[in-house]
Symmetry: C2
Subunit: 336 residues, 2 copies
């Protein structure tokens, strides 16, 4: 057990509009003993994800919202200290829903073992975690790209987006990456080698998109919604597809979401817009892990991680996700 006191970040109240410091409260409660089918975990690494915005919104979604007073929901990696669950013994390293805490009791049904000799803890929250699976199944299974097609990716330098760009290139697609600012566009162009890059903060989006995809867009992997989604819809090709992975530009205020005004292009172009969550694909995770590891070993796929340090950085990390300040998968190292 760590000598520092246990720390939890809890949801104080559902935010209205922008998430501020009033959203969170930090506590130092000593963890209880684990009950049946629970384990006590020492956390090593936490994942900070755009989906967290939905988890603190009291509205119908794919899982119930976090209740005020509860430890904030998060994916993490940790070591089992005590176990009342058959599947785990002390010393096991596990990943799953751990919550934003340094030490805590967690339901074992939300955990699975990982092997740190195969990959570091951070990888199990980035390329070998939900981020990687989301990119893999969202692009390949929902998007169904074909070699030679033009694939546009928004938040392309982000956690999911950067993996989508690389997997699309592996499929033989022509990739157009949309991101904000020179650092992100340079990464897309110089490191990932995507065929065309658009800086949505600097370039006129509509014109830049026409220039980058003169024949139109076969497949759009949307992480952002808003103006970018509307712009791409105007360039969607006949029978084009939009994969809805996220709408981070619209998460700030669930009462004021801007729907895609150009959605009628889906009629004119016989297009499809399809959403998904990883709940549909959990049974196929081993397939994704095996393929991602193979591509990584072959040098075709890299995980981009942006690591902060210490649980106190959580509120800042949450803000970074929505301001776009992070460069790759945002993680918090609790031991560094």
């Amino acid at each position: 057990m760590s000598s520092t006191p246990a720390t939890q970040v809890r949801l104080k109240a559902y935010p209205t509009g922008v998430v501020g410091p009033d959203t969170w409260t930090v506590t130092h409660d000593a963890p209880a003993a684990p009950g049946p089918n629970q384990v006590l975990l020492q956390l090593q690494m936490l994942s900070v994800d755009p989906g967290m915005r939905g988890w603190i919104t009291p509205k119908r979604s794919y899982m119930p919202p976090v209740q005020p007073g509860e430890v904030m929901r998060a994916f993490g990696v940790g070591t089992v200290l005590e176990s009342q669950a058959k599947a785990f013994v002390p010393g096991d390293v596990v990943t799953g829903f751990t919550g934003v805490q340094t030490v805590g009791v967690v339901d074992a049904m939300f955990l699975r073992k990982v092997d740190l000799s195969l990959a570091p803890a951070s990888s199990y929250l980035s390329g070998l975690g939900m981020t990687g699976y989301t990119a893999y199944f969202g692009l390949l299974d929902v998007g169904k790209p074909k070699p030679g097609q033009t694939v546009v990716v928004s938040a392309a330098a982000g956690a999911v987006g950067s993996m989508v760009c690389q997997i699309a290139k592996i499929q033989g697609c022509r990739v157009v990456g949309i991101a904000g600012g020179p650092d992100k566009t340079a990464y897309l162009r110089d490191v990932l080698g995507v065929e065309a890059v658009i800086d949505y903060k600097a370039d006129g989006l509509d014109q830049a998109l026409k220039a980058a995809a003169p024949g139109g867009v076969d497949l759009y992997f949307d992480n952002v919604g808003g103006a970018v989604l509307d712009s791409v819809l105007m360039q969607i090709k006949r029978h084009g597809r939009v994969v809805l992975c996220g709408g981070v530009s619209q998460y700030a205020d669930a009462q004021q979401v801007r729907g895609p005004a150009n959605y009628l292009q889906l009629i004119a172009q016989s297009g499809t817009m399809q959403g998904f969550t990883m709940m549909d694909y959990m049974h196929r995770v081993p397939e994704a892990v095996a393929q991602i590891l193979e591509w990584q070993a072959a040098g075709k796929l890299q995980f981009r991680e942006h690591i902060l340090h210490g649980i106190a950085s959580f509120p800042q990390a949450f803000d970074m996700i929505f301001s776009g300040a992070n460069q790759g998968k945002l993680l918090i190292d609790l031991q560094g």
Copy 2:
């Protein structure tokens, strides 16, 4: 040839916002002689359709917009008076793009023969025309309903909607029809026998939809967009589907379209929103005609038609489509 002079309704100028009398101009030009691959037609019946709004909007769509000064585009049925096309001889009755005119020269490539001994001219513009094919392929091929599923239809008492309701019932679905006003809801309940009816003008839409579809919506056939689309999205079931057939509530002003603010429910529920136009299905029209005739003969499917008289009624007919004043497929009889 008719003794009355030829009459054409032409597009005067692209409307901005609401379509008013300044949109149209009526001319009485004597028709030219047909050129190669053209025919001279005496028109009997015209079809008035929501899609016309898109044809007079200078924006990318599935076909080029009508140019100011041109005869307004429309489907019609007419008799060949003179032919310079191999496929047709004088006396043939044909349907296709005829334009809003009493007599005129038409390209033969947009026409096909019909048999008035099999069905009246009006049927070839309603249940045996684009209206019927749109309902047939949109529901069955795009929507893919399964027996027992809950299918919601908007503009359910309209031309396409009333056919969708009936075909969904033939498929063994539970049908919820949304329409405006007591006449339309009575028609849905008493004549078509749909399982639940919502009057969007009188009932609180969200509450009425929850009551009518307590288990959620498997399939939504959307003719209207706007508030109805948003309301249904909040009730869409996991892996639910939205078929985008039209967005008549949003056609008034192409610059001010309201996108579906609840589109992120497609992520939460792993849902799909798919548009289509009949261009995808023209090669399968014989299949639809045969099946629709069979259902009609068996008493399972009726065509609802609302027939106005005389070409001068076109501007009023156009307005009726968007105010919802018509009861079924809106047609103009040019001979009555």
